[in-house]
Structures are given as structure tokens and as C-alpha cells.
Amino acid sequence: MTARSGDKEGRWAWRMTGFITVCVYVFMFAPIIATVILSFNSSMFGGFPMTGFSLQWYVKLMGNEQVLAAFRTSLWIALVTAVVTTAVGVVTAFALVRFEFRGKQMLSTLVILPALVPETILGVGLLVLIKAVDQPRTLLILVLGHILLAVPYVVLIVQARMVGVRRVYEEAALSLGASRFSSFREITLPLLIPAVIAGALLAFTISFDNTSASLFWRPAGVETMPTQILSMLKISISPEINALGTVMILVTVGIPLVGGIILQSLTRLRRRGEPKEETQ
């Protein structure tokens, strides 16, 4: 029973809930929509009013070598982060769900800490450690740092799915002579695919989007996309930034959306070929 099917008071409360919900959604998307609209503004200044439609800021953006370099850097870092984090995250989730070992509880808590500790603290900490052992900041450290930030999410997502995959499937394969590795590859992994893809996409966006920690960790002279945007904002708010923002939104929203759609059609295709199975 929901509040709607109730008395007068309930109906009034329900309407107010709906109204606030609409307001919150508008609040969430209004600034983003304004940015997208402004990126097509022909005005020299990055603001309203609109003076005409123009693609000049996109053209200018495509010729901005610094931005392109930052984009490539971020893309590579995010790709490596997504692949590595997914690999280590999946085996960690597997161990945490299937095995009993001492310190498991502590490890599960430790694994989610990077998501809860403010990035500034993680950023400073790693930097102090590097300084203490007198090492330079390298791309490798930046990537490993991004992996640290993405690991909690991948582990949690895969763990949640793994709990629903019954271990008898793996054990059946083992009892039929499959090796430990092939039972994992042939049985467990395919059943986990939705969570694996979701985790990889999230790891990609976490890395691609990371700002605060990257400011601390990036090697001298290297800009990632977000740090590049920050340094551009320090100079002025030009319409070029709005165009850049729009491109970024297309990339980071487009990739998961397309991924999700592919995933859905894949599962639908597979379902069609199979007899009805019992869902667990």
C-alpha cells in the first residue's frame, strides 16, 4: 500500500513528495543541460544570453593540443585501471565470498576504506610515502593509485553478484575433473559477466574522472583530463570549457549506456537459445 491510496492527508503528502522529487531531478540536471546548451553559443563569453548557434568552440577544442594530450593520457590510464582493477577485484571478491580464512572480516573492511577515506588524505599519504623513500612521481604510481580508488567498487559489485551464484555449479565442474582454473573460467566467470562489466565500466569512469587525488599523484608536467579542466578554469571560463564538458559527458555517459545496451541484447540473445532455466 502506498500513500496514494489513502486519505486526504496522504494524497496531499504524496503530491508534495512528487513535487519535491521533480525539483530534485531538475536540480540534478539543470546545470548540466545549461553547460551543453552554452557549448553551442556563438558568444565570446562563456555565459548567457545565447547569441546564436555555433560549433566554433568544438573546432577550437579539436585544435587544442594540450587538451588532446590530456584526453589521451586519461583514456590510457582509465583503460589500464579498468582492466587491472576488474581482474584483481574479481579474484578478491571470489576469495571473500567462497573461502573462509582468518582476517577475512578485516580484509573486507580494509577493501572498502579507499572509498570512504577522503581523497585528499589518500593523496597526501601516498605522496609523503614516495617522498620518504625518495622516489619520483611516475605514471605507474598514478595508475596504481587509481586502481586503489576503484577496487572497493569493483569488489562490492562482484561480491554482491557472486553471493547469488551457487557454489554447487563450480563444485560439479570440479568433481567432473575440471581444474580449479577452468572451473572458474568456464562456470563462475560467465555467470558473473554482468557484474564484471558493470565493475569495469565503473572503474573506467572513476579513473577517468578522478581529480583531487590525481592533482597530488600526477608526475610533473602530466595533465589528466580533469586536472587540465581545472587549470583551464583557473585562467578564465571560456565557451571552450563548455564544449569540452559536453564532449566529456558524451564519452562518460555514452560508454556505460552503450555497454549496458550491448549487455542487455547479449543476454536476450542467449536467453532465446536456451530452455527456460530456474532462476536462483
Binding site: T2, E9, T17, V24, I112, T120
Partner: protein, 292 residues
């Protein structure tokens, strides 16, 4: 498989978790430990410090009201953000849970989409709303309601607005997850025993959704109090928070021992709130809210 090992041998488990464990040790545990040691180092000059142990950094932190002001302001902004998030976030969560709208998934998807959009872009997009050439000022000027642009950007209000924008999805999803786990027959039972819908909400739904609300409040508070980019982009110098102070101390003044001290302070203060929370609520709700 290695001979003599049982099916779910702990040794195999340790091998599987080894990469992540090493990463956590070297990039999380060890840095925080080294940072703690660094708080006792002596600051010589920009970028140079000595391993001579001293309490000077801690003494400076505890006696200089400059730092206390920063800490209090940060906690105040974090608490205000979390509370507003809680109030504003509860309604959409309840709406999504209770609605019979066929495309509920769309409402949930729209909550997740902001997570995919670059945080920096979401934050600076507020400049297009609040700035002198932003939507609000331009519209009000056109309507003749004001004659000069309102100074909305680069204020504490703008910082809180930016934080709300960033944190509301966390709050809504946390409350929603907790509402989803409520057995709906309980509410029907309350109604059939004569509760009005308001009473049923107050006596059944609200108390049962409190764990999600509490998890959301903690998450929003910690993330707001630890924020760095939002005050940098939407606030003036006066609206800087503790994260900005840490960044400036390390990257600007190159005073590493003091930067480490301030980081540990923030870590301990936020950790205290998280510990109080887990003492009463446990970790499971946070885990659920983060995507588990």
C-alpha cells in the same frame, strides 16, 4: 591444483587476495602510517624537512586558532550539507520506492547517470547557473527584477549547493536501498488496523528506513568534509575547506610535516564519526549503499 590442499584452502584464498592486499598495504596502510611519523618531523624550509622528532607541528595545530576555525567551518559545512541532503533526498527515494510508474528503472538510471559525468564538469556547470552570466542572473535582469547581477557564485552557499549536487544521488540511493528491504505487508497491516497513511509512514516506514538514512548522512558528511574541488571552483578564498588547507600547505608552502599533521587531523576527526556510526549501525548498510 597443488597437492594436499583442501577445496577451500585458506592458502589459496591468500594467493587470490594477495594483489589487492599488497596494494592496500602499500598505497593505503603504509602511507597513513608514514604520514603519522611525518607529523613529528621538523620543518626546515619549503620542501625540506629533518627527521628530528618534534612536537612543533602538533603544538602549532592545537594552539593556532587559524586551524581550529578551518576545522569548525569544515565540520559545519559538512553537517549542513549532509542534513539538507537527508531532507531533500528522502522524498525522491520514497517516491521511487512507492510509485507505480511503469518505468521506475528510468528514475533510478537518472540517479546513476550523474556518477558517470565528470565531477569537475558537474561542479563547474554551476558557474553557468549562478555566475554573473548564469541562467538566474540573466533571467532576472531580463525580467527587470534586479538591476545588478546577484553575487551568488563564490560564496559558501554556492559551495554547499555544489556539494548537494554531488552528494544527493548517494543519499537517495542509500535511502532507496533501505526502503526496498522493507516488507510491504507490514505497511498494509498497519493500514488495515486503522492507521492513517501518515501514521503508517511515521510508525512503520520511517523507522525501518532509518538505517539507510543514517548511512547516507555519514557518507555525505564524510565526503563533503573531505572535499577539495568544490570549494576551489565555487567558493571564494574565505570558503576554502580543510581539504584546500591541506593542499595549499603541501603543494603551495611545501610544508610537508604540517600538511601530514593536518591530514591526520582530518583522518582522525572523520574516522571518529565513522566509528561512532559503525558502533551503532555496523558496516553493512554502507556496503549496500556503495553498490553491493
Amino acid at each position: 591444483m597443488t597437492k594436499g590442499w583442501t577445496l577451500y584452502d585458506p592458502r589459496l584464498a591468500w594467493m587470490l587476495v594477495a594483489p589487492v592486499l599488497l596494494l592496500l598495504i602499500f598505497f593505503l596502510v603504509l602511507p597513513i602510517a608514514v604520514m603519522m611519523v611525518y607529523t613529528f618531523f621538523t620543518f626546515v624550509t619549503a620542501g625540506v624537512e629533518q627527521a628530528t622528532l618534534t612536537l612543533a607541528n602538533w603544538h602549532e595545530f592545537f594552539t593556532d586558532s587559524y586551524y581550529h576555525g578551518f576545522l569548525l567551518k569544515t565540520l559545519r559545512v559538512g553537517a549542513m550539507t549532509a542534513l539538507i541532503c537527508g531532507v531533500l533526498g528522502y522524498f525522491p527515494a520514497y517516491f521511487i520506492w512507492a510509485t507505480t510508474f511503469k518505468h521506475k528503472w528510468l528514475l533510478l538510471l537518472l540517479l546513476i547517470v550523474p556518477f558517470w559525468i565528470s565531477f569537475t564538469i558537474r561542479t563547474f556547470s554551476w558557474i553557468n547557473i549562478l555566475g554573473e552570466q548564469g541562467v538566474i542572473n540573466v533571467a532576472l535582469l531580463k525580467l527587470g527584477l534586479i538591476h545588478e547581477p546577484l553575487p551568488m557564485l563564490y560564496t559558501e552557499g554556492a559551495v554547499i549547493l555544489g556539494l548537494l549536487h554531488f552528494l544527493l544521488p548517494y543519499m537517495i540511493l542509500n535511502v532507496y536501498v533501505s526502503l526496498e528491504s522493507i516488507d510491504r505487508t507490514l505497511i498494509s497491516a498497519a493500514r488495515s488496523m486503522g492507521c492513517t497513511s501518515a501514521q503508517a509512514f511515521r510508525e512503520v516506514t520511517l523507522p525501518l528506513s532509518l538505517p539507510g538514512l543514517a548511512a547516507g548522512l555519514l557518507l555525505c558528511f564524510v565526503l563533503a568534509a573531505g572535499s577539495y574541488v568544490t570549494p576551489l571552483l565555487l567558493g571564494s578564498g574565505r570558503d576554502a575547506l580543510f581539504g584546500n588547507l591541506i593542499y595549499d600547505t603541501i603543494m603551495g608552502e611545501l610544508n610537508w610535516p604540517m600538511g601530514a599533521t593536518l591530514s591526520i587531523v582530518l583522518f582522525v576527526v572523520l574516522g571518529f564519526f565513522a566509528a561512532v556510526y559503525t558502533r551503532y549501525m555496523g558496516m553493512s548498510q554502507i556496503v549496500k549503499g556503495l553498490g553491493g
